[in-house]
């Protein structure tokens, strides 16, 4: 086949200059670092103990008596609990992403690259797995294995993994037949080395983007699990649990118990998305550098 490319689409059309994404990355990392620092140093500066109930101070509106975000039904200081809760939600998100990446990317690479029987087995297993309503599955597993931060993170990770498997599998199938993979084989790389050096990098873009989405989603899922009461155990200030218990006052105009933890979730999700987007842009040299 002659490769004369029609002049309608010359291969080296000057690409529109894109922002390198450095600004987005800085903002995302900045938010994340601030949240992390705030929550780790929380015991040093928080005026109220997030685990100490004070029933008489129930439902104080924001700003009263030094309660920046007000108090909830049990008289807990909402600000302290939001700040303190970040450590649980962050940890859950990170565990979930780590699990989803390791499981999802590995299976996706194997299924996409090896094809044939490996692909069939993995794809069928995935079909079966995804046939269950995932939230119900998560609830069932957590119900059986008990509650806790680690187990919640792992379960959310496993539930998020199929998305990675499918994405990576699809992408890998298009990469597998590219000639640079064949060239790597000619250079004497083993199949595992080829997957790592030539196939995985082609996937990084989608992986970063999906990881960001999944991290944000993991926090929401953790919140949902907390909401139905199988996530993080009760007194701990996990955001989902806070929202779920906080909503009961909404009809009476008590908004601060649920809105502030909600905003916190949005903030973290935003940070993850910013980081993921910039990393995925950086993963492609054509978008990274333009002459």
């Amino acid at each position: 086949m002659s490769g004369e490319v029609s002049s309608a689409a010359p291969p080296r059309t000057p690409r529109p200059r894109r922002r390198t994404g450095a600004r987005g990355l800085a903002l995302g990392v900045g938010i994340l670092a601030t949240v992390l620092l705030a929550t780790l140093l929380a015991p040093l500066y928080l005026p109220f103990d997030p685990l100490e109930a004070n029933l008489p101070d129930q439902y104080l509106p924001p700003g009263t008596d030094g309660h920046l975000f007000g108090t909830d039904r049990s008289g807990f200081d909402v600000f302290s609990r939001v700040v303190y809760g970040a450590r649980y939600d962050l940890l859950i998100a990170l565990i979930a992403i780590a699990v989803a990446l390791v499981v999802g990317v590995t299976l996706g690479l194997l299924a996409g690259y090896r094809g044939r029987a490996t692909d069939t087995v993995i794809s069928r297993l995935l079909d079966v797995f995804q046939a269950f309503p995932l939230l119900v599955l998560a609830i069932a597993v957590l119900g059986a294995f008990g509650r806790g931060i680690w187990i919640t993170g792992v379960v959310i990770g496993v539930v998020s993994a199929p998305t990675f498997v499918r994405l990576v599998r699809e992408q890998t199938r298009t990469i597998r037949d590219r000639m640079f993979v064949e060239a790597a084989r000619c250079s004497g790389f083993t199949e595992v080395q080829i997957m790592r050096r030539y196939v995985l990098p082609a996937n990084l873009g989608v992986i970063y983007t999906q990881a960001a989405t999944s991290a944000a989603w993991a926090i929401l899922l953790a919140a949902a699990l907390g909401f139905v009461g199988v996530g993080v155990p009760a007194p701990l200030p996990e955001w989902g649990y806070m929202i779920s218990t906080g909503t009961e006052g909404l009809t009476r105009g008590i908004w601060w118990t649920s809105v502030f933890p909600g905003l916190a979730i949005v903030l973290l999700a935003l940070a993850f998305t910013l980081i993921g987007e910039s990393l995925s842009r950086w993963a492609d040299p054509r978008r990274r550098r333009s002459r």
Binding site: M1, S2, G3, E4, P11, R12, R178, M179, F180, E182, A183, A184, R185, C186, S187, G188, F189, T190, E191, R197, Y198, P201, A202, A283, D284, P285, R286, R289, R291
Partner: protein, 291 residues
Amino acid sequence: MSAGQTSRQSPVLELHRLRKTFKVGRGPKARKVRAVDDVSLTLDKGTTLAVVGESGSGKTTLARLAMSLLPPDDGDILLNGRNLTGLSPRALARFRPSMQMVFQDPFDSLAPWHTAEQIVGSSLHLRRDLGPAERRRLVVEVLERVGLPQRFLSRYPHELSGGQAQRVGIARAIVTRPSLVVLDEPTSALDMSVQAQILALLHELQNEEQLSYLFISHDLAVVRYLADRTAVMRRGQMVEVGDTAKIFDRPENDYTRELVEASPRVTAAPAGRQPDRARADGVSHRVRKAL
């Protein structure tokens, strides 16, 4: 060219009665296609053997067999007298540096996220005796041999023109000082004016390094310049092998003659057009009758 003085040496590549069958389709509709059917060829040191044929003739399968990227169903592949058939991928890795390949589409065969230096260096990854400085020196040297000065080291493929990218591909192939280079349509994706540059480069490298080329092509024009001997394939079988000049000027096989006559030539025109026109008018006469 140089065939005369080196013919006594043992051949670089011997293909002996190779067979390869592929299964096409699935289930009851599956049928077998003989991609390579009882093909034997020898390539002498410092010479070029062209394998020409149309799509589906099996020439690409033959190239992959010669590179041991694909195991033959039957037959033997000897590289410098050493039988490579049946070797494990691990055992084959030792021979990889002595057989290299240049691909048709230079952009598809270079990993987009590697620089020219990384791409050429990847061929040397089995050379554990090389330090980083030494490796770099070799890469710089070979890039200069193919006409790319040092400033190209840090270029990504999308920052190269088609001709420059193919030079990188050639550098990757010759940096290991291979005895066999398989050229898989190395110029058919390039512009006319660049094609000549790359062909001249390949010719020059062959003369200086005593390289042996197995040159796969559907373009007879290119073959005539570079190849000492030419093999014509059709439907998996070898229909004619011989000195290139003889194949072109005195083809014995009907199919070879058809192929040679069908390839459009600048020199044959416009006289060559007359019989075509007469024949085509015969067809158009049929059209008129049919309508």
